[in-house]
Structures are given as C-alpha cells and as structure tokens.
C-alpha cells in the first residue's frame, strides 16, 4: 500500500487534568493504519477513540508517544500544517458561506488560484452529487446534504488521510445505510486513507478494512472485521461486537469442561478456569447431545428465533436458529452442540 499515507501511532498517550483528577483518555496506544485503507476506531463512548482522532488531526497533542504520517513525524504539527482533514460529527460547516464556498475553503486557505479552486470545487461537488446545490447557503440543507458537503469540503484539499468523527450518527437509519455505501465508494475512488470513528459495531463491520476495538483508552484488538467477529481477543471485544454467550469452564488436557461435559478445543489453551465464548448463531440443536439445557423462553425475530435456555449448572445461554424450525416449548429439554471451530477460550472473569 501507499507509504506516504500510512499512519503510525507509537505509544501515544493522553492525560487530561492533573493531580487527583487526572484522566487517562489514551494509554500507550500503538497501531499502524495502512495507506489507502478504511480503518475504523470502534468502541463505546469514553473509550478514547475520539481522543485518538483528535491527536491525528492535531487538535490535541499527546502527553506521550509519537504520530508519524509516512516517515514524517507530525506529533508537534498544528492542524493547519497537516495534510489531514476531518469530517466533524456535527459537520461544523461555515454558516456564513455557500456550499461551494465551504468546499473551497481549504483550497483558499492554501492560496490556490481562483480558477483552479473553482474547478476542484465542481469536481468535489460532483463526487458527492451536490452540483445542483453549489450556491445554496448551508443552513438550507438537510442533514444528509450537509454530510455530503462536509465530506466534499474535507476531500477537496486532497488530504493524505481523512478523519471521520461519527459522521453518520446524526442521520436516520435509511440515510445512514445509504451513506455507508457512499463513504465506502468515495474511499475506493479517492484511494485516501479513511480513519473512521464509530460506536456502532454494525457500521464498523460493514465498512472497514481493519478495525481497532478500543476500551478504557486502550486498543483491545486490531484486525479485519472477520477476525474480530470470529476470534475476539477478550471478553470485552466478544461482548461489544455482536452477541456472545460466556460460559465458565475449566480447561484441562486440550479440552474445556462444562460440568461433566467435555468439549475438545481446536487451539491450545492454558489449563485452569476460563471463559468459553460462543455466538448464539453458532450453537447447534442436536437431539440427544451430551450437553443439554432447559428452554426458558423463545423470541421470534422474523428471520430467526432466539431460544433462551438454562444449562444444568444454571448458566443462561442464548442460541439463534432459523425461523423455520419447530419452536421448542418452555420447559422442554434440548440437546446442544458447541462446534469446536466456533468456540473461543478467553480468560476467566
């Protein structure tokens, strides 16, 4: 991938406040964002993802560590001297300027000549399909249109990296889906590195090349959407991305024990108490299986049914089945099989 647009964050930390009230918003984060990729920072609010984005933009300076763009150290550069642009959560469009003037703002500040600027603005407006709105004041635009203008404005100066701070959170569901596809298209067409911040795991899974899951100022796991979904590194990731069952188990001799039921493991794990994680949709119904549970509730979801059941040791377990199966009754005993390839062994709680 493109060397000059690769972002390298090394041991970045950020503390706010001092003395007893110090807050570690970011703690020794190290990650590489490949040039030309769609990279997502995913986590709940307060996990440090926005702080990291602000460090990349230059609005904050890290209290420790370095940020490199290509092989250039940009840690101390102010935002106006970084070839990085931002799409703000609230868009932050300039209310006194027209759509075209907003899009051309960055180019104007860079001192680019009028004719060249206008051409570039037209090109950007075409890219986000807003040509017909060039002369409108931004206050007259809908949320989705403002979003497109904010994108065009940030893309116009041809940044090496585009930062997007929860840009879709203010849109309704339908528009959000459309913009997800739109953003992905823009990223492919421009080849610019996108760094996307969101707390929406579905958004992250559908759009990203790679995802960094963050919590409490630390990166919990970095990987492709598939890796993160199928092989969560820890309980936080398994719980935050999709749904997971967490079953207390004991690991010994390459197998996990639930009560006296034994599940052999695909990957080696340290012996001792552990947590077994498995997705509801990965659990199979198997009449007469050694692991049995008592159905406590069933929920019809339209395209699937969710069955809530209780294992013999009292642990609650959820499994998801196609809506076409015969629904078990509450109180009925069912046999369960946990496929070895779907099982993750995590640290005990």
């Amino acid at each position: 991938m493109d060397e000059a647009t690769r972002v390298y964050v090394k041991d970045a930390s950020k503390r706010f406040g001092h003395g007893a009230t110090v807050v570690h918003a970011l703690a020794d984060v190290t990650l590489t964002i490949e040039g030309g990729s769609f990279f997502t920072l995913l986590g709940p609010s307060g996990c440090g993802k926005t702080t990291l984005l602000r460090l990349l933009a230059g609005f904050e300076t890290p209290t420790g560590g370095r940020i490199l763009l290509g092989d250039q150290d940009v840690t101390a550069l102010p935002p106006n001297r970084r070839p990085i642009n931002t799409v703000f959560q609230s868009y932050a469009l300039f209310p006194h300027l027209s759509v075209a003037q907003n899009v051309g703002f960055g180019l104007k500040m860079q001192g680019i000549a009028r004719a060249k600027r206008d051409a570039r603005v037209d090109q950007m407006l075409a890219l986000v399909r807003m040509q017909d709105f060039a002369e409108r004041p931004v206050a007259q635009l809908s949320g989705g249109q403002q979003q497109r203008v904010a994108l065009a404005r940030a893309l116009a100066p041809e940044p090496r990296v585009l930062l997007l701070d929860e840009p879709l959170s203010a849109l309704d569901l339908k528009l959000r889906k459309e913009m997800q596809i739109e953003l992905k298209r823009l990223q492919r067409e421009t080849g610019i590195t996108f760094v996307f911040v969101t707390h929406d795991q579905e958004e992250a899974l559908t759009m990203s090349d790679r995802i960094a899951v963050m919590s409490a100022g630390r990166v919990q796991q970095i990987g492709t959407p598939r890796e993160i979904y199928a092989h969560p590194a820890n309980r936080f990731v398994a719980g935050f991305i999709g749904e997971s069952n967490f079953l207390p188990v004991t690991v010994a001799d390459g197998a996990a024990r639930i009560g006296d039921h034994r599940i052999s493991l695909a990957a080696p794990a340290d012996p001792g108490p552990a947590t077994l994680a498995i997705r509801p949709e990965d659990i199979m119904l198997e009449p007469g299986a050694a692991l049995s549970a008592e159905v406590t509730d069933t929920v019809y979801l339209g395209n699937a049914v969710q069955i809530m059941a209780r294992l013999e040791d009292g642990t609650q377990i959820a499994l998801r089945q196609p809506a076409t199966i015969d629904l078990p009754e509450s109180g009925q005993r069912i046999g369960l099989r946990l496929p070895v390839e779907a099982v993750q062994i995590l640290e005990a709680e």
Binding site: A57, G58, F59, P78, P79, N80, R81, I84, N85, T86, F88, S90, A92, L93, F94, P95, H96, L97, S98, Q101, F105, G106, K108, M109, Q110, E135, R136, P137, A139, Q140, R153, A154, P157
Partner: protein, 299 residues
C-alpha cells in the same frame, strides 16, 4: 410563509405593541416639534416665534460675512460636523479593537465565571458619567497622574498636552462606550460554535485567517450591534467633549446645546439636530447594507 408563521407574527407584534407605542410617542412627537422649530424664527430672548422661514437651514450651511455681507460656506459648522463623525468612527474602531479580545475572553471563561466578568464590565455604570469623565480629566491633565508617572519614569521631558485635544475626547468616549461594544459582541461570541474554529484550522487556516474568514463573519451581528450602539451616542456625545475637549474641540452635540443656550438660536439648533438625525440614519443604512450583506451567500 405558512399560515402558522403568519399567526406567530401577529402574536409577536401584539406583544411588542405597548413598547412600540411608548417609543413612538416618545420619539416621533418630540422629533416633529424639533422639525417644526427648525423652520421658525429665533425668539427675542430664547425659544421660537413666527414667521416660518428656512433661515435656520441656510445658516447651517451658509454664513453671512459680518463685514461685506457676502454668503460663504459655514466652514465652522462643517468642521464641527466632520470632527464629530471622525471621532465617533474612531471611537467605534477603538472600542471594537479593545472589545473583541475582551468579549472573547469572557465568552471563553467557564460558564459559572462569565457572570462575574460581565458584572465587572458594567461596574462603571454605577457612577455618574460626569464624575467619571472628570476623573479621566484628573488622570490626563498636565499635572495629572499619567503625566506625573511618565515624567517620573523619564519617558517624557515635559508634560504631554492631552487634555482639551481630540485625543482626550477619544480616550473619554472609548472609555464610556466600551461596554456597549463588549456586551453585544459577547452575546455573539457566546453563540459561536468553537468547532468552526477547529474546522478552519483543519482546513489550513492560520490564526489570522480563522479570525478573518470565520470568526468575524459569524459574529458579525454582534459587531454590527456593538458598533451602532457606540457610534450613534458618540455622534451626539455632549458631556465627554465638554469636559475633555474644552471649548475649542466642540462636537455637534455641544454646538447644538450652544444654540439652545448662549446662542439663543433655537431654530438653528433644531435644524442641526435634524441634520444630525438624517446623517445618522444615512450612515447606518449604508453601514448595515455594506457590512450586513457582505459575504452572505443567501443575499
């Protein structure tokens, strides 16, 4: 406009009606009297009498030479007028330059601190204007505090003649009207979304560009309100030029007062007052047109 908005407009008009009535009675009535007086003949000792004449209006612009009876431009009047406009514009500019950082400072304090700063800004209003102006006189006069300190420090060899100059009037008016500039600008900056500043920096603006291309245009309504609140009363200022400008550096307000007092020429005073009103109206129209419309894409 929808029916609902029309309804809302009617309701808000009726809410404003009592205040509007008071303002109309208080301003239109006296103004009509002033306008009528400007077309009358000076009374024998003071006041006005018939017949109706345009004599006062001629006197505003033309003056009759007392020796050869020829008509010439009333240079003295024009000088006073020009000085008034010049000093008022300068007062607005100075209060803007001082007021912008002040308003910005207050608006960026933590919310629980802002009230205190605004309170401090309004403290001068507690004391009578005349007293405060005399206090400034005490500071800038030749034997005053400022000159004493500068002499002691060896910055100057002889006292600076500030009192009874245009500079003195300017200092006094800037001091008096500064809060009028700060308060509306504070209100505008308080509403200013600081994320716009981040957006400007992000799009390669340096501090001055961000100020010029984003902050000033966005807070323009506050600047507009503040400069009108400073310029208009400055143009009619009376106490400050009287105490700090002395007899020579009259402003239009003092000259009008002179006509109603020692000059015993009420019609001329009235004509000058009407002229001042027209000048202010024209100046504001041009000002609001130019500054109020500049850079606004929606016209």
């Amino acid at each position: 406009m929808s029916a609902g908005q029309g309804q809302a407009n009617r309701t808000s008009w009726s809410l404003a009606a009592p205040a509007l009535a008071l303002l109309l009675i208080g301003s239109i009535g006296p103004l009509l009297i002033v306008l009528v007086y400007s077309f009358m003949t000076p009374g024998d000792y003071s006041g006005v009498q018939r017949p109706f004449t345009t004599q006062a209006w001629e006197q505003v612009f033309l003056t009759r030479d007392i020796f050869d009876d020829t008509l010439g431009w009333a240079d003295a009047h024009m000088t006073i007028f020009w000085r008034s406009v010049k000093l008022s514009v300068l007062t607005a500019v100075i209060t803007f330059l001082l007021g912008l950082p002040t308003a910005w400072f207050i608006a960026t304090r933590p919310p629980d601190r802002r009230a205190l700063w605004l309170f401090l800004i309004t403290i001068p209003f507690w004391t009578n204007l005349l007293i405060r102006t005399i206090a400034i006189n005490e500071i800038i006069r030749n034997e005053g505090l400022l000159n004493q300190v500068l002499l002691k420090l060896g910055v100057i060899g002889a006292p600076l003649q500030i009192l009874y100059t245009d500079t003195a009037v300017l200092i006094g008016m800037a001091y008096v009207y500064l809060p009028m500039m700060v308060l509306p600008m504070y209100a505008a900056i308080d509403r200013f979304d600081t994320r716009l500043l981040e957006a400007a920096y992000d799009l390669f603006a340096n501090r001055w560009q961000a100020l010029w291309h984003v902050v000033l245009p966005v807070i323009r309504p506050g600047i507009l309100a503040g400069s009108i609140l400073v310029f208009v009363p400055s143009l009619g200022a009376y106490v400050t030029p009287r105490v700090l400008g002395g007899g020579k550096n009259m402003m239009i307000g003092n000259f009008i007062e002179l006509q109603f007092g020692q000059g015993q020429n009420w019609p001329l005073g009235a004509a000058l007052a009407v002229l001042l009103l027209i000048a202010v109206g024209l100046a504001l129209t041009v000002y609001v047109r130019v500054l109020g419309g500049a850079g606004r894409a929606d016209g």
